[in-house]
C-alpha cells in the first residue's frame, strides 16, 4: 500500500448556528488518508460522519482550515471548478442508491461522463457494468432491479469516471445481509484490485470489518482507532 496521502485535512473547523449559538462539529481537526486505503467511519448520529464525507467530496465547505484531496486544495476552488474537480476525482455511493428512475442502468452509469465530455462512453459504461457483474442488466430500469442490484449500479456509476476516491455513505444501510455482503465485497475488490481509496460511513460493525481501518467519530473527534485488516 502506498502511503502517499490522498486526503489531508488541516485544522478543519466546521459548525452550524442554532438558536443564535454556534455548535461545532469539527474543531481544528487534522486527518489524513493514504492512497489505497479502505476506511470505515463509524459513530453515533450527529457525530459528523456525513459532514466529513461532504467535506471530502467538496459537497460542503469547512468554516476554516485546508482540505486537500487527490493533490488539489479544494476549499479554495470556485463552485464551477469544484464541480469539475468532483466529477473527475470523486465517486459517490449513497445509502438509497439515488439512481434516476427515468434512466436505464447504463444511462445512470453514463451520467458522470455526460458532464465531462468523455469519449468512448459506451465502452466505459460496459466496463463498469462488467466490474459490478451487471452486464446483462444495462437496459433495465431501477424499478426492475433489486436493492442490491441498484446499489451495484450506483457503484458502477461511482467508478465509471475512474475517480481517485470513493465516498460511500451507508452503502449497505438499505440492504439485507446477503446483498450487503455482496456490495461490501465489491468495494473491497475495488480497493484491492483496482486500487481505489474507499471511505465508507457505516453504522454496521459487520460492514466495517471489510475495511482496512475503522475510525470512530464522536462529537467531531476520532475517539478510537482499530485496525481490522
Amino acid at each position: 500500500m502506498s502511503h502517499e496521502a490522498v486526503v489531508n485535512l488541516i485544522d478543519i473547523s466546521k459548525g452550524y448556528v442554532k438558536g443564535g449559538e454556534r455548535i461545532a462539529i469539527f474543531d481544528r481537526m487534522n486527518f489524513q488518508i493514504s492512497h489505497g486505503d479502505f476506511i470505515a467511519i463509524m459513530g453515533p448520529s450527529g457525530s459528523g460522519k456525513s459532514t466529513l464525507l461532504n467535506l471530502l467530496g467538496g459537497i460542503d465547505r469547512a468554516d476554516s482550515g485546508e482540505v486537500h484531496v487527490a493533490g488539489t486544495r479544494i476549499d479554495t476552488l470556485s463552485e464551477s471548478r469544484l464541480t469539475r474537480w468532483r466529477a473527475r476525482h470523486i465517486g459517490f455511493v449513497f445509502q438509497s442508491y439515488n439512481l434516476l428512475p427515468i434512466l436505464t442502468a447504463a444511462q445512470n452509469i453514463e451520467l458522470p461522463l455526460l458532464c465531462q465530455g468523455t469519449g468512448d462512453r459506451n465502452k466505459r459504461v460496459a466496463a463498469a457494468l462488467r466490474i459490478v457483474n451487471l452486464s446483462e442488466r444495462g437496459r433495465h430500469y431501477p424499478n426492475e432491479m433489486s436493492g442490491g442490484q441498484q446499489q451495484r449500479v450506483a457503484i458502477a456509476r461511482a467508478i465509471v469516471s475512474d475517480p481517485d476516491l470513493l465516498l460511500c455513505d451507508e452503502p449497505t444501510g438499505d440492504l439485507d445481509r446477503a446483498s450487503a455482503n455482496d456490495i461490501l465485497s465489491m468495494l473491497r475488490l475495488l480497493n484491492g484490485d483496482f486500487r481505489k481509496t474507499v471511505v465508507m460511513v457505516t453504522h454496521d460493525p459487520a460492514a466495517a470489518e471489510y475495511a482496512n481501518r475503522t475510525l470512530h467519530l464522536d462529537k467531531g473527534q476520532f475517539v478510537e482507532r482499530s485496525l481490522a485488516a
Partner: protein, 386 residues
C-alpha cells in the same frame, strides 16, 4: 444519451402531467392564433383600401343616409377624379339567419372607384350595366351558396320591402367579383341602386355613402375639407375620411378589436403562465434530491439551468405548436363554415413568428424560478430531501 434526451425523458416522467400542461398551453396559443388572425384580418382589409380613396358619410353617423343630391355635388368638386355611391341593403337569402352582405351601388361608376380592389370579366361587366336586376356576386359568397352565373336569387332585406308588398328582390347573377389580393374580401354582392330606389317603399333618393378617388393621395386632405365645407351647416352635413379609416371605423363597430384581442389573449396567457409555472415549480421541487445527485455527479449549475429551462421551453414549444396547428384547423373550419365572412382569417407568418417568440418567453418565464432554485440549492441540502 445527451442533455436533450435527458430533457425528453424528464418530460415523459409524468405523462399525464406533461400532457395536461401541454394541453393548457395549446389552448392559450390556439386562442392567440385565431384571435390574432381575426384582428390582423380586419387591419389588413382596412389597409388594402386604395390610398387615394375617400368615403363621404353622414356626419351624424355613417348609418344615416345622405341625399342622392350630395353625390352629384361631390362629383363636381375639384380634385374628385371619379366617384360612386353605395347603400347598405341588409340582405339575407331565403331565411333571416342566412345573412348576405348586399349593397346597392351605382352600376355605372362602381368599378371605376373599386376597380383597384376587384376584377370582373368584361362581358360580365357589360351585362351588369345592361340589366337593371342584375348583380355581381363576390366569389366567396357564390362559393358558399353554390351560386353560378345565370342564377336568379331572391335576396330579402331586413330594412326595406317593396312597394308591391314583396319582401325580396330577385337578382340575376351576371358575373363574379374577384378580389385582386387576398385582403379584398369577396363575401358580398352588389346590385343596381336604381332597382332598389325605384321599388322600395321609403328612403327614396337617399344613399348610404359616397366613395371617390382623388387620383393623388396627397390631395385627400384638401378634397375632404372641400367636401365637408360644402355641406357645412346643411341639414345633412358630411364627414369625409379615407377609405382605410372608414373600414377601421366599420370594424370598430364590434368594439376595439385590438384591445379585446390583447386583453383576452393576455388573460389566457397570464392564467396558463401561473398554472404551468406553478406545476413546473412543484414538478422540479419533487426532484430536488435528484438535482443534488446530478450536482454531486458533476453537473454544473449552467447545465442544470439549461436542463430545467429546456424542459419548460420544450413544454411551451410542444403546446404552442399544437396550439397553432389547432388555430389553423379552426380557421380552415371557419372558412368552410362561414364562407367569405372569415376569408380574411389567415395564420400569417408574422403571427407564427410572434407565437414562437411568445413560446420562448413563456418557456423561460415558467422555467426560470425552478431552474434558478435548482441552480442555487446546496448539494447537501438537496440530498437531504426525501
Amino acid at each position: 444519451m445527451n442533455v436533450l434526451s435527458l430533457i425528453w425523458k424528464n418530460l415523459l416522467r409524468s405523462k399525464v402531467r406533461s400532457a395536461l400542461m401541454i394541453a393548457s398551453i395549446m389552448i392559450a396559443f390556439g386562442m392567440f392564433g385565431v384571435l390574432s388572425a381575426f384582428e390582423r384580418g380586419l387591419s389588413a382589409r382596412a389597409d388594402a383600401a386604395a390610398a387615394d380613396r375617400l368615403v363621404v358619410v353622414n356626419k351624424i353617423d355613417y348609418v344615416q343616409p345622405l341625399p342622392l343630391g350630395h353625390y352629384q355635388r361631390v362629383c363636381a368638386v375639384n380634385g374628385v377624379q371619379s366617384a360612386t355611391h353605395l347603400s347598405w341593403f341588409g340582405g339575407y337569402f331565403q331565411e333571416p339567419k342566412n345573412t348576405v352582405t348586399a349593397m346597392a351601388v351605382d352600376a355605372e361608376t362602381y368599378l371605376t372607384v373599386y376597380g383597384s380592389d376587384y376584377v370582373v370579366a368584361d362581358d360580365a361587366n357589360k351585362a351588369f350595366l345592361r340589366e337593371r336586376t342584375s348583380a355581381l356576386v363576390g366569389a366567396e359568397l357564390a362559393r358558399k351558396w353554390g351560386w353560378k352565373v345565370g342564377d336568379q336569387i331572391p335576396i330579402s332585406s331586413d330594412i326595406y320591402f317593396q312597394k308591391n308588398g314583396s319582401l325580396s328582390w330577385t337578382l340575376t347573377i351576371v358575373g363574379l367579383l374577384q378580389g385582386r389580393t387576398a385582403n379584398n374580401p369577396t363575401n358580398f354582392l352588389v346590385f343596381h341602386y336604381a332597382y332598389l330606389n325605384e321599388t322600395r317603399t321609403f328612403g327614396k333618393d337617399t344613399i348610404g355613402w359616397i366613395a371617390l378617388l382623388t387620383g393623388a393621395p396627397e390631395r385627400i386632405d384638401e378634397v375632404a375639407r372641400m367636401i365637408d365645407g360644402m355641406f357645412a351647416n346643411s341639414t345633412n352635413e358630411t364627414s369625409t375620411d379615407t377609405d382605410r379609416a372608414f373600414n377601421r371605423a366599420f370594424g370598430a363597430q364590434y368594439g376595439n378589436v385590438g384591445l379585446i384581442v390583447t386583453l383576452v389573449i393576455g388573460a389566457a396567457f397570464a392564467t396558463i403562465l401561473m398554472i404551468v409555472g406553478n406545476t413546473m415549480v412543484m414538478a422540479i421541487r419533487e426532484r430536488t434530491r435528484e438535482i443534488g445527485v446530478l450536482k454531486t455527479l458533476g453537473f454544473s449549475r449552467r447545465t442544470l439551468l439549461n436542463l430545467m429551462l429546456g424542459e419548460a421551453c420544450a413544454l411551451a414549444l410542444a403546446g404552442g405548436v399544437l396550439g397553432m396547428i389547432a388555430a389553423e384547423a379552426a380557421i380552415l373550419c371557419l372558412h368552410f363554415a362561414g364562407a367569405g365572412a372569415f376569408s380574411q382569417l389567415t395564420l400569417s407568418l408574422a403571427i407564427v413568428g410572434e407565437a414562437l417568440a411568445i413560446m420562448a418567453v413563456f418557456g423561460i418565464l415558467t422555467g426560470l424560478t425552478p431552474a434558478l432554485r435548482a441552480m442555487n440549492i446546496g448539494i447537501a441540502q438537496a440530498l437531504k430531501r426525501s
